[in-house]
Symmetry: C2
Subunit: 150 residues, 2 copies
């Protein structure tokens, strides 16, 4: 854990941690990237033509650099603690079409051309198998109970 | 920071933190939810018909519970440390269509009907304004240099 998170209220972010590892990421991009305490940002991979949200991975500065410069999505594996070129062994590559940062520069959206299944379970996307029971909202309706407003 | 993260290698996750705050979330869902050290999971909001990825927010157990049961997307604001019902003051509500967990139960995808702009800047999505220069990948091509394979 970066020291920057110490002293912050639980569930809040105090300051902006720097890169966790050395990287060749463009300096202007690195300067505005807002990382979590582990030096990571979530990266959403979306199929460029169908719009399917395929998966969410994590990128540090260097994973983003490799994604921007090699044409292949590269993530940081939080469980293995190493870089992970999507599809390098499975053959289910993600070929980069475009990359965008969000308005807060703390999330990446990668439009990709996904070969085969994006999910390690063999499903096309990581969100296909576990749909939760949810109340469908009706635009214009008043919700009840109303949680704290912002 | 949850103590579970202490002792873990930088950038890796050691154990699964529990809920950060009390919640009425369904117990079966809560039991399999894999939270970060702050008790949060990223939540991707996608427009249900156009497929636009609108934004990525954060949910704790209770935010997910409210999203599942009120028909309105509710997030946990990391900067303010409070629940945040999307559009409650701006009028730019997110009405829930469906909610799914990913294969690792550590990310949420919410299909929504977004009223107006999803982004606080007034853009339709949070990813409209900051497209990064990227090499477009060509399926079947060999990338060079080839980073570590997995």
């Amino acid at each position: 854990m970066a020291e920057s998170a110490l002293g912050a209220a639980p569930g809040t972010m105090a300051t902006m941690p720097g890169p966790a590892r050395p990287s060749h990421l463009n300096r202007a991009i690195a300067a505005r990237l807002k990382r979590d305490a582990d030096g990571l940002v979530p990266a959403v991979a979306q199929q460029h033509d169908t719009g399917e949200v395929l998966m969410v991975g994590w990128m540090d500065d260097e994973a983003l650099h490799r994604t921007l410069t090699t044409g292949r999505c590269t993530y940081w594996s939080r469980s293995r603690g190493e870089y992970w070129v999507k599809g390098e062994t499975s053959g289910h590559q993600q070929w980069v079409r475009s990359v965008a940062l969000d308005c807060d520069a703390d999330t990446v959206l990668v439009q990709v051309d996904q070969i085969g299944a994006a999910c390690h379970t063999g499903e096309r996307t990581c969100f296909d198998a576990d749909v939760l029971p949810a109340v469908v909202g009706v635009p214009g309706a008043r919700t009840s109970p109303a949680p704290s407003a912002t």
